[in-house]
């Protein structure tokens, strides 16, 4: 049975922050629903950690308010917010054993000894460290330390759980394992969570919704699938997943179809209008590598040349050169090998391709 532990959502209202001459956060609104796992995804310097620290109370915003439920906690110190926080370096107390680390928040709250023991043991069982209560922190592996940090943050039944790149210090294999572990814990007992990362895979695997951040702004906030399939702009498209972006000229919309032309090619192409709201003029065609296919030589498509093929096990990636030297990648299962330099015709899946407003390159 699923029980939502936190009945509170949280909300940022016009929150802004400046460090010297750097505008770390532009006035920003963000709502996290009760029991939702929301990931802030962005490169370093995009403001995601600043936002997290404002939620935790370690930083004061220059303007705006932060609400837990309908309680304005902007002016409250961290200790009065009932927030669980997991740090990138875990920040476990080195002079206490595993049990005492997890018990810290309960001792602060004056929980009685028997209740405390029971709750700490339940928390350790939850992260599958039942046997290790008496261990010193330095006797644990990185993954185990990470789970102690998780147990310590969760045992206090926080209204909000904050995680600041908690998997950054783990090796790749362990990271995948802990991702699924965190996801399992969240699905079993959903609690309102804000998770910060720059790793797109982490964001896709764990989140209910993802907010893509850039330069102190939220570029787009949506479910992982919606972000991948309907990115709001080229930045989101390139940040999440592999993408081919081809410069095109949008000619206009006729009925349900938007027409555009591709540089270097005659002819007019069409996409269903859904999801493409781009005015006539220069734009970008987004076609993910897995939506590009080789067309029969006499079927509709555009002429291109194979430049490189890369064998990836279950997939084969092919680098293709278009008429004007544009390069795109195609990825397909069971693709017959093609000689470098051979001429082919390619097409894209019109249902999955998108037109995006072109923006100045960074």
């Amino acid at each position: 049975m699923i029980r939502v532990l936190a009945s509170h959502g949280v909300a940022f209202r016009q929150v802004s922050k400046r460090f010297g001459s750097v505008q770390a956060l532009r006035p920003l609104d963000l709502d996290v629903l009760p029991g939702e796992f929301l990931t802030l995804l962005g490169p370093s310097g995009s403001g995601k950690t600043t936002l997290l620290n404002i939620a935790a109370g370690f930083l004061d915003p220059d303007g705006g308010r932060f609400l837990i439920g309908d309680r304005d906690v902007t002016a409250l110190p961290p200790r009065s917010r009932n927030i669980g926080m997991v740090f990138q370096n875990y920040a476990l107390f080195p002079h206490m054993d595993v049990f005492e680390n997890v018990a810290y928040g309960l001792r602060v709250r004056g929980v009685s000894a028997s209740d405390l023991r029971q709750r700490v043991e339940a928390a350790l069982a939850m992260v599958r460290l039942d046997e290790l209560g008496g261990r010193g922190i330095h006797q644990l592996s990185g993954g185990q330390q990470q789970r102690v940090a998780l147990a310590r943050a969760m045992v206090i039944e926080p209204d909000l759980l904050l995680m600041d790149e908690p998997l950054g210090a783990l090796d790749r294999q362990l990271r995948k394992h802990v991702q699924l572990e965190i996801r399992r814990l969240h699905v079993e007992e959903p609690r309102t969570t804000i998770y910060v990362t720059h790793d797109q895979e982490e964001a896709l695997v764990m989140s209910d919704r993802v907010a893509i951040m850039r330069d102190g702004r939220i570029e787009q906030i949506a479910t992982p699938a919606a972000l991948y399939e309907n990115p709001a702009n080229a930045y989101v498209a390139t940040f999440l997943g592999e993408s081919n972006l081809l410069p095109v000229q949008v000619l206009g919309t006729e009925g349900e179809q938007t027409a555009f032309s591709l540089e270097g090619y005659d002819g007019i192409h069409h996409l269903p209008r859904a999801g493409t709201d781009v005015p006539p003029g220069p734009a970008l065609l987004l076609a993910r590598p897995e939506t590009i296919r080789v067309a029969e030589l006499d079927a509709p498509g555009i002429g291109a040349m194979v430049e490189e093929t890369v064998y990836l096990g279950e997939l084969t990636a092919t680098r293709i050169r278009l008429a004007r030297g544009q390069q795109i990648w195609m990825r397909a299962m069971n693709a017959p090998p093609r000689a470098v330099g051979s001429e082919i015709r390619i097409k894209w899946d019109p249902v999955k391709a998108r037109l995006l407003a072109s923006e100045p390159t960074e």
Binding site: A56, R79, I83, H95, Y104, V108, I137
Partner: protein
């Protein structure tokens, strides 16, 4: 090529050892001198005896000087540890320029000639009725002890992971609880080291003590100084050996307790 650099290194090490021996040996020479049976200083002694130790510990003026020294040093250590730790915590939070100014102020007693400090303290203690009192002397010594505590605790504080403090705050701990359960264990090695320096600094301090100890708070170094002005007897060598011994013991204790408290933290560095 390598042979040449090697032999140069050996020469440098031997030279270093000789200089060190030249500087350190006289300090340890007081130990055999104090064990000489004869009533004059001769190294090495012809016959050994502990009779000067008996005389030292039977003489009320020596014993009270020793006890005074310990009392003053403990008080001065207490004052400077509390004040120095508070200062180090405050300094850590100051912005750049203000911080260097504050550090400079705290370190000033190490740079200003002690004789000037002594004269100033002479006037100050007289006008506050602290002249010749144990408290007055301990407070005065604290001035010299403070820099060691601030520096040592400051180094420990720099190594303290700010996220540990944040984690404790996030779990609901107030400032005093955070200090007691997180900061204090983390800075304990610095505190022990600074405290040991503070104790030793006060314990063998002469100049300030001569000025303001008066008769009421005469310490062992002052008594030694007075004794040696008259005659360097083996009893004076006993007094010096006692200072030396206590100094060594205090440092060993500090190192030991710092290492004991630091063990789990250092294991995590790997």
């Amino acid at each position: 090529m390598t042979g040449q650099t090697q032999s140069r290194a050996v020469v440098a090490q031997v030279a270093g050892a000789v200089v060190l021996a030249f500087l350190v040996m006289p300090i340890f020479a007081v130990v055999p001198a104090s064990l000489n049976d004869a009533s004059f200083i001769k190294i090495p002694p012809e016959t050994y005896s502990t009779r000067w130790y008996t005389q030292f510990f039977d003489d009320a003026t020596w014993v009270s000087a020793l006890l005074n020294s310990i009392k003053v040093a403990l008080l001065a250590t207490g004052f400077s540890v509390v004040l120095g730790t508070s200062a180090a915590l405050g300094i850590e939070r100051l912005p750049g320029t203000l911080r260097s100014l504050a550090v400079g102020l705290v370190l000033a007693p190490l740079i200003v000639p002690v004789i000037m400090i002594s004269i100033s303290l002479y006037y100050v203690t007289r006008s506050f009725g602290l002249y010749g009192t144990t408290i007055g002397l301990a407070l005065s010594h604290s001035l010299l002890c403070l820099p060691f505590v601030v520096l040592n605790v400051g180094v420990s504080l720099k190594r303290l992971d700010l996220n540990l403090v944040r984690a404790a705050e996030g779990l609901g701990a107030g400032p005093w609880r955070v200090f007691r359960t997180i900061t204090l264990p983390a800075i304990f090695p610095g505190l022990a080291g600074g405290g040991a320096f503070a104790f030793v600094t006060s314990f063998d301090e002469v100049v300030i003590s001569i000025f303001i100890a008066g008769y009421g708070a005469k310490t062992l170094p002052v008594k030694l100084w007075e004794q040696i002005r008259v005659e360097f007897t083996p009893v004076a060598a006993v007094g010096s050996t006692v200072i030396l011994g206590l100094t060594v013991i205090v440092f060993i204790l500090a190192r030991w307790s710092a290492a004991a408290s630091n063990r789990p933290a250092s294991g995590r560095d790997t």
